[in-house]
Symmetry: C2
Subunit: 345 residues, 2 copies
């Protein structure tokens, strides 16, 4: 916003929830703001109790962190020693790579297929060859939006070497039915990451959690910031968890937004990658044109982003908006694509 | 609170502000809670602009972190390689040591003098011998409350080896007049840490900052969590910074609380360490008796803590409270010390 000088943007660039946090979470946080002078509970006991009930596990199998980015740092620090390999799809959500580089690990890469889906067979084959300490996989994936089904995921996990740990980033899993997800298994070689940033609409709060074995969770307890979580984030997350009706509304509206983007893409003759997240990638033929379209949209007050690495770099990525936001995006994209400089062939 | 089963405690154990956050900060945060679905500004631009004005430096000389604990982790990670020495007073605020151990550094210790003050001459002598990568010093100190004057601090800094970096933890510096603090120097071998947790009453928000050279700040920028700060904490901190009248009120009330504790200690024949912070250490003759007094106070609903390492382990540490809280503490302490089991000799 500083860069464009605009005061109001249609924010569809960061996969934030356009539907906001639960009003019940807002009410709970508002009531507690005068006590923000108190530290939060270093053990997040109340929140972990509620999460344990949600996931059918013990509180000792959960650690709360300041968002998934924070938790990924703990995983890399605990499990990837300097020089050791860590595997991921090149171009996926970048924070895991950021930590691998930052902690001196050696990045090993799989790739996206030409259709924009992560090549999970290739990833498993590389894992068997390179035996990385950690395999990072986002399911659903960001930035593609693609989802690997439960059975495929189970086969992938089973195909990994037994010395490799699967770090499953499930930031967008709340948009997927539980029955489509890998069942709740608690094994030392599996760590699942969840967040309140997406379906729960609390990206600004910085709160997420990891599910794994008590042994792994104890390891994180030895290196994490003991007072790292905002007290109000703990309170809001607990209230958000208890507001099922609101979460269901967000998930339904998000599905509606995806359908609206698919329809718009069809109308404009642009390809889409089917998404199970709160965003959709729309194809712009080339990376250069995708960048130009993104820039032109920004000049019209609509902020979207685009993946940086091929083959997804020829797409723009638009987050699920409310109906007025979707309308503003559709209008702006139609105008941009009608201009000779940025029209699709 | 879970451990005692009580629902309400007089919280005087964690050096939180009993005077809460600024009402203007609460109002600003309340207004923005519905937008907690947005990520905060990864660069904290508005806040850094305001902090730069406060400290007469450039925004590029400031990095914002999720509290001082977070920033100390960055310093250790950036400057203390595995096996390298890092120096601190044994028994001072423990998070620096936590990070040194966590990142594989070698802890080297100075000590407190018998009167409870950090032995700063000894610390400088050890630094000249051991040439630690980082010397951690809290001024004012926690848990003693002691303050090293501007001139002494300058001599200490000048006496350190040129290959040692001074990490000056100024969490409690807002309770001290600026004219008593080390002047604002920006050199690669000096990093100062500040927080919104104490005088600004926002411990639960997790927000603090480091002041140093642009070069050091750039280094932190390569390893810090880019989206690590709660959006509402950024907004509240900015509003709190602008509410000078409230901060002055908190600082004045805190001084009043210290005087009240000194008076109570005199009445009870207990020694005190003079404090420039929002807490006071009151001597209980022995570590065993201090623990017993602390436990007895808790049974009476008053939560204080005690330092763990000698010679300070014979003190209880009580945070500055409001007048009713001070009254509750005085009443409870009088009762505890009147009991034969816990009376002072």
């Amino acid at each position: 916003m500083r860069e464009t000088g605009r005061r109001e943007l249609v924010r569809l660039g960061a996969n934030e929830s356009a539907f906001g946090p639960s009003p019940k979470a807002v009410a709970a946080m508002t009531a507690e703001l005068p006590r923000l002078s108190w530290y939060g509970d270093p053990e997040s006991l109340d929140l972990r109790d509620a999460l344990a009930e949600k996931h059918g596990c013990a509180p000792s199998e959960i650690v709360v962190g300041a968002g998934i980015d924070d938790l990924m740092g703990l995983v890399v620090r605990a499990f990837v020693a300097p020089g050791e390999p860590a595997l991921m799809v090149r171009g996926t959500y970048p924070t895991f790579l950021y930590h691998v580089v930052g902690y001196g690990g050696t990045a090993v890469y799989g790739s996206y297929r030409d259709d924009g889906r992560p090549d999970i067979e290739e990833l498993a084959a590389i894992a068997r060859r390179a035996v990385p300490r950690v395999v990072y996989f986002a399911n659903p994936d960001n930035p593609s939006g693609d989802f690997v089904s439960r059975d495929e995921m189970q086969r992938f996990y089973d195909a990994l070497p037994h010395d490799s740990l699967l770090l499953l980033d499930e930031a967008y899993a709340d948009f997927v039915d539980d029955s489509d997800l890998l069942p709740p298994v608690f094994e030392d070689r599996l760590i699942r990451l969840r967040t309140f940033s997406k379906a729960y609409g609390m990206a600004g709060a910085r709160i997420g959690y990891a599910l794994s074995t008590e042994s792994n969770i104890r390891t994180f307890g030895k290196i994490r910031l003991q007072y790292g979580i905002n007290r109000n984030a703990q309170i809001g997350a607990l209230a958000a968890l208890q507001d099922d009706a609101f979460t269901e509304y967000v998930v339904a509206e998000t599905a509606r937004a995806r359908e609206a983007y698919y329809g718009l893409a069809r109308e404009l003759g642009a390809p889409c990658i089917e998404s199970r997240t709160n965003f959709v990638c729309v194809g712009m033929e080339s990376a250069q044109r995708a960048t130009r379209v993104m820039d032109e949209l920004l000049l019209r007050g609509v902020w979207v982003r685009k993946p940086g690495a091929p083959p997804l770099d020829s797409y723009i990525r638009v987050s699920a908006g409310t109906e007025p936001m979707r309308g503003a995006f559709a209008q702006a994209l139609r105008a941009v694509l009608a201009s000779p400089r940025t029209s699709l062939s």
